[in-house]
């Protein structure tokens, strides 16, 4: 956790510098004490100070939060699946891609009940269609191929 805290504090300090530099290029308003850059600059300074405090606390072993020791791989797999899902929606549309994504998650979880592979995707699609498209009149993406 100490290593993570040190890396985070350095990253945040660099972010603060970048934000401050960008905010300094925003024009000031004539006749006004505060311009578009004032608030971001103040925030950048605060982030810079807090990142230094975090750095010092980590060095001195005074930072008390415990990190999570859970495996990261399952979460990264889920993130990858969702990333591909979002890219696919743009091509194929929500209603064609979503059932496949749900099935992929069920396969990953090694689900044995075959009824879930049919029932869950159908149930989700019907629910979303009824509530969003029919009741709330929110048209969901059709995808460029089927548009």
């Amino acid at each position: 956790m100490k290593k993570i805290n040190l890396i985070c504090s350095i990253f945040l300090f660099l972010l603060a510098i970048a934000a401050f530099s960008m905010a300094s290029t925003f024009p000031s308003l004539q006749g006004s004490h505060t311009g578009p850059g004032s608030f971001p600059k103040i925030l950048s300074v605060i982030i810079g100070i807090l990142s230094i405090i975090l750095f010092v606390q980590s060095i001195l072993n005074k930072e008390i939060t415990k990190g999570s020791t859970e495996k990261i791989k399952p979460a990264v797999i889920a993130m990858t699946i969702i990333f591909i899902y979002l890219l696919s929606i743009k091509w194929f549309g929500f209603f064609y891609v979503t059932p496949f994504v749900i099935i992929v998650f069920l396969i990953y979880a090694k689900v044995k009940h075959w009824m879930l592979y049919v029932g869950l995707p159908v149930g989700v699609i019907v629910f979303v269609y009824f509530i969003f498209e029919k009741m709330l009149q929110v048209p969901l993406p059709n995808g460029s191929i089927f548009a």
């Binding site: 945040l12 925003f26 969702i82 709330l136």
Partner: protein
Amino acid sequence: MENILTGFTNVLQPEVLLILILGIFAGVIIGALPGLTATMGVALLLPITFGLTPITGILLLIGIYFGAIYAGSVSAILINTPGTPAAAATTFDGYPLAQQGHARKALQVSTISSGIGGFLSVIILIFLAPKLANFALKFSAPETFALAVFGLSIISSIAGKSMVKGLIAGTIGLLIGTIGLDPISGFPRFTFGEMKLLNGIYFIPVMIGLFAATEAFKNMNLSNTVSKGVVKLKKSTLSLMEAKGLIGTVLRSTGIGTFIGMIPGSGGDIACFVSYNEAKRFSKNPEKFGKGALEGVSAPETANNATTGGAMVPLLTLGIPGDAVTAVLIGALMIQGLQPGPLLFQNHGDIVYSLFVGMLLANLLIIVIGLLSIRLFTKVLAIPKYVITPVILVLCVVGSYALQNSFFDVWVMFVAGIIGYFMQRWGFPASPVILALILGPVAESNFRRSLVMSQGDFSIFLSRPITVVLLSLAVLTLFTPLFRYLLEKRKKGNNPEIPVE
């Protein structure tokens, strides 16, 4: 008195009651689904009221409004995702309670608190509306700025174990809130030439990502385990003793919610945090907050439903909306031929009092419907994680898209989910980010407007009584946890906990 009796006569008709109940059910579905808001529900279903009478039409929308504000707590408690922004603070203690097997109790507390908070705020509305409306109108830019700063100061209370990490999260949230067009000059800030960033980063997809998507990514660890991540439900219900212990919290939170609801532009999303913080301040056991304290559920839920009555005060008495939903309700009233404002009581007194009675009934019905539905709600916990996880992720995508029909919001949700996962892993709290995203733009724009009003004179913030009171409370709120934190560190001496690598 005569008007109230007329109101009862008008409302206690089968068709009116049926419409009210249908409205509440629709509101509960909308409120429980992350990504759908009360404003969206009321706006989208407004056209249905065209063919209805004034009383049934407006009460339908009020049912949706009240139901949605209440039901945000259901998903907040069960899946750590606020269904509406007004339920954001409910996750702090509601979800831990559910994880400990006390979901039923948490839902009972949220249901009863919501109903009572809303009911009492309508009582206040009926008897004190004109006086309260005049007071609320004293709020100008300096007061709104001070209220936003007071709300932001709560970050120190919800920062969790690491004050520094909590403040960092809040400040990053404030910085993200500056993305987009500057509210005063219209200059694009941090947009990198990207058109989609001109409107800034909408906080609701960020909230869905930081709460729901993050939780779903975390659940992947449990999806293929033996237990399948199912939480065992304990047979715990709210006892009379526990209910009595919440009376003070409910009354205080009702006052806070009604007051904040009356101020144009502020609603349940601010009230829930302020009320949570005050509940923690006044609690005999503040250390239990964040770990499953019943007061931590009762306070925000009472306050967010109390804002509904408060928001109706300026709407009905002055024709000024108290929040986004009441802004839509103005349209609904005008469609029915009712002009909100001082003359509404004179010209359509019977309809106004019918609406009052309808609102009282709506809050009582929320308690009844909510308590009867708890068994159904808690069945969600029995669903294995490998089923819940993909469903939540799909609803995150749909909910984020439905907000503004924009796929950009879906990507915002996704990125927020990834960031939220690593934030949680590395001990950075997510709640300050949401609080800062909601209140940061309000604080900045009103600060700068105040300086325009005073022509650059900063003493405007010290010369207005309401502003001074709110800023003093903000300082107190910000530094009290810090002092407590430093005192605790001193007590522990020179042997702080060694962090796990």
